[in-house]
């Protein structure tokens, strides 16, 4: 794996004005993406993973959004960049594959034209040539009859095909970074794994770095190189896939992992769930956001937000917890 840092997020905050006040969707995130890696961003709905990724290219900018911090890409800060500057990055250097391709594709435009539009937005090529390239791309993402599919409207294709079209759009300009926002949630399981393998193969062929947003740890295990776990707008644990999945340090990650059914474990009547519900309101406790739901919480957890630090595992395995892992009682089997 190359270690060249492609995109660096520093102190990113995203807040939205809501009737109750200001909702801190992302409350200070530091994260870097290296070229050619697949970084999985894991968390429940409302944990801020989508808000984080959309703010990388300013797609959630608006009168009610307040975005702070820095996103350094290619020597410039995308948070400070104006719309014109961002437009030249969007779709060309950084592209997004959205979930629910049926909604994300224009229902009144042929899919080939939607791919070609992505090409022609950033490159001065004749329409004809862009169309031909679109058909090529549709073939590349595994659509059986690409010339015919290019002439179809989104509603005429299957869910898996539509998601492939979405991926073809994302890859049309060979971006350095591809943000895949829950690309497989709307698909059934067999199609899901086909699409994941496709992403993995394309990433290997093109060297594209992928930010994979998901709440599905199975997806993480299948394709991710590195994992960052988000809770209440902050990263609570990050590390390589094996570190995070097999040696989780943070109680939240442990909880997530123990709620996944396992084929090799003893049969259980009921999967363990994390008690309580995630923080989604405007008000946040002063200390660790997970403490109210944490099985290991003690009084000092509410004092201050623990820093994201390397404590037990490898040099890049960080977590945001104050628990003493040397105590036997904490040994939880994942």
């Amino acid at each position: 794996m190359s270690s060249e840092v492609l995109l660096e997020i520093r102190g990113l905050t995203v807040e939205f004005d809501v009737p109750a006040g200001r909702l801190p969707a992302v409350a200070g995130v530091d994260l870097s993406l290296r070229s050619g890696e697949i970084l999985a961003l894991v968390g429940e709905s409302g944990s801020g993973k989508s808000a984080l990724s959309m703010s990388l290219v300013g797609l959630n900018r608006g009168p009610r959004a307040h975005i702070g911090g820095e996103v350094v890409f290619g020597g410039r800060d995308l948070v400070a960049a104006d719309e014109n500057e961002l437009r030249s990055v969007r779709g060309k250097d950084i592209a997004v594959v959205f979930q629910d391709a049926l909604a994300a594709l224009n229902p009144t435009q042929r899919v080939g034209d939607q791919v070609a539009e992505m090409i022609r937005t950033h490159r001065k090529v004749p329409k004809r040539q862009a169309r031909d390239r679109a058909v090529e791309l549709l073939g590349e993402v595994g659509i059986a009859n690409p010339a015919q599919a290019a002439r179809a409207y989104p509603h005429q294709l299957s869910g898996g095909m539509r998601q492939r079209v979405m991926i073809a759009i994302g890859l049309a300009n060979d971006p350095a970074v591809l943000i895949a926002d829950e690309p497989t949630t709307a698909l059934d399981v067999t199609i899901q794994s086909q699409v994941l393998r496709l992403l993995k193969r394309l990433q290997a062929d093109h060297g594209t770095a992928i930010v994979l947003i998901t709440h599905d740890l199975g997806v993480v295990a299948e394709v991710a190189d590195r994992v960052a776990v988000m809770y209440a707008g902050r990263i609570v644990e990050s590390g390589t896939r094996d570190e995070v999945l097999f040696h989780p340090q943070h109680p939240y990650t442990m909880g997530l992992l123990s709620s996944v059914p396992r084929v090799d474990g003893p049969p259980v009547a009921r999967l363990p769930a994390i008690a309580g519900s995630p923080l989604t309101g405007v008000a946040r406790p002063p200390g660790c956001a997970f403490a109210p739901r944490c099985a290991f919480a003690h009084p000092t957890c509410g004092d201050a937000i623990p820093p994201l630090t390397q404590r037990y595992g490898g040099p890049a395995h960080l977590d945001r917890c104050v628990l003493d892992r040397s105590r036997e009682a904490l040994e939880v089997t994942p």
Binding site: R90, A103, A104, T108, I169
Partner: protein, 341 residues
């Protein structure tokens, strides 16, 4: 395609129901064509006895002495044979009268529609893009006001301001009387091209602009509101975010992604509004003495000229139905999801 065929198949049914209603309604009005004719024909010196005698003679001549059922039957069989009859007064052929007036009404309503769509789309898009600003509020307020003003009030206002005070525009008729016009299709624009007479166009436009704008303003106010709501809804759709992700400019997003998708509810409204436009044209044509079907209809009603009322109402209904079939076709063209393979 089946949708359109279905609609076309419904046209005769609609016309049958409508002609029955018109047949009944006009005969429910107090007064009869014969009394008017009888009194008028005696030039003021007629005695009550004369009038009664004349009335009977006239009723017999017009076939109004027969039972309602047999009148209805002969009316229906005439229509089936495409015979709309002739006017009680003067005996003009109804088909000929419609041939003279229908093109004028089509010109008026189409012009009004174009003006309304132009104003409504521009202001509606503007209001949606500047949502929540003073521009949005102002546009919607003006829209609501124009939507609420009755046609006759707007028409009279237009006549007073542009015709009487400013003297910019003619306020009566369709073309100057002095103009030498030999109708071919009776559509002035088409005739001007066919007969190579471009000098017809300017006076025609001058006469058309005031009644057409009168008719258009209330519709424009309505379209503004629909366009605003529709554009706002589409702007929140996921594929618009995809378009932004592609790096498209706001203008390209609006043109290529938002407008087409927000046009569906707008087109529906246009089809339905065309009906009220036709209703409005009856009033507007009367205010401006514009020689269209509406004017013909009003005079027919005032004189109890049954064949004219029946013919004009049928023509208006047919126009409305055909416009709505056209709307269905437009629907299919705009939304591929409706086209069944």
């Amino acid at each position: 395609m089946r949708l359109v065929l279905k609609r076309l198949a419904a046209v005769p049914v609609v016309l049958l129901v409508l002609s029955t209603m018109v047949f009944a309604a006009i005969r429910l009005l107090p007064g009869s064509p014969a009394t008017g004719l009888a009194a008028g024909g005696a030039s003021g010196t007629a005695t009550a006895a004369d009038i009664t005698a004349n009335t009977e003679k006239i009723n017999a001549a017009l076939g109004l002495d027969k039972s309602l059922l047999s009148q209805y039957w002969s009316f229906l069989s005439d229509i089936v044979h495409l015979d709309l009859g002739s006017s009680f007064y003067g005996g003009n052929d109804i088909a000929g009268l419609l041939g003279d007036t229908l093109p004028a009404t089509i010109e008026l309503t189409v012009a009004a529609m174009l003006i309304a769509v132009l104003i409504g789309m521009l202001t509606g898009i503007l209001a949606a893009l500047r949502r929540g600003t003073w521009i949005d509020t102002a546009t919607r307020t003006i829209g609501t006001v124009s939507f609420s003003l009755p046609w006759f009030a707007l028409g009279v206002l237009g006549i007073v301001v542009f015709g009487v005070w400013l003297r910019w525009l003619p306020v009566i008729g369709r073309l100057p009387n002095a103009l030498d016009y030999h109708p071919l299709t009776n559509f002035v624009l088409i005739d001007a091209i066919l007969q190579d007479r471009p000098e017809l166009i300017w006076p025609w436009l001058q006469h058309l602009i005031l009644p057409a704008t009168t008719l258009a303003l209330s519709m424009a106010g309505f379209i503004t509101r629909i366009v605003r709501a529709s554009v706002l809804e589409v702007l929140g759709d996921d594929f618009v975010r995809t378009a932004r992700m592609k790096g498209l400019s706001p203008g390209a997003i609006l043109r290529r992604h938002v407008l087409r998708n927000s046009s569906l509810p707008i087109v529906t409204v246009l089809g339905l509004q065309f009906g009220s436009l036709l209703g409005g044209s009856v009033i507007t044509e009367t205010v401006f003495s514009y020689p269209g079907v509406g004017n013909l209809l009003v005079n027919g009603i005032l004189q109890r000229d049954y064949p004219i009322v029946q013919g004009a109402a049928l023509a208006i209904a047919l126009l409305f139905t055909l416009v709505n079939v056209a709307v269905d076709l437009l629907y299919l063209a705009l939304d591929p999801r409706l086209r069944k393979a």
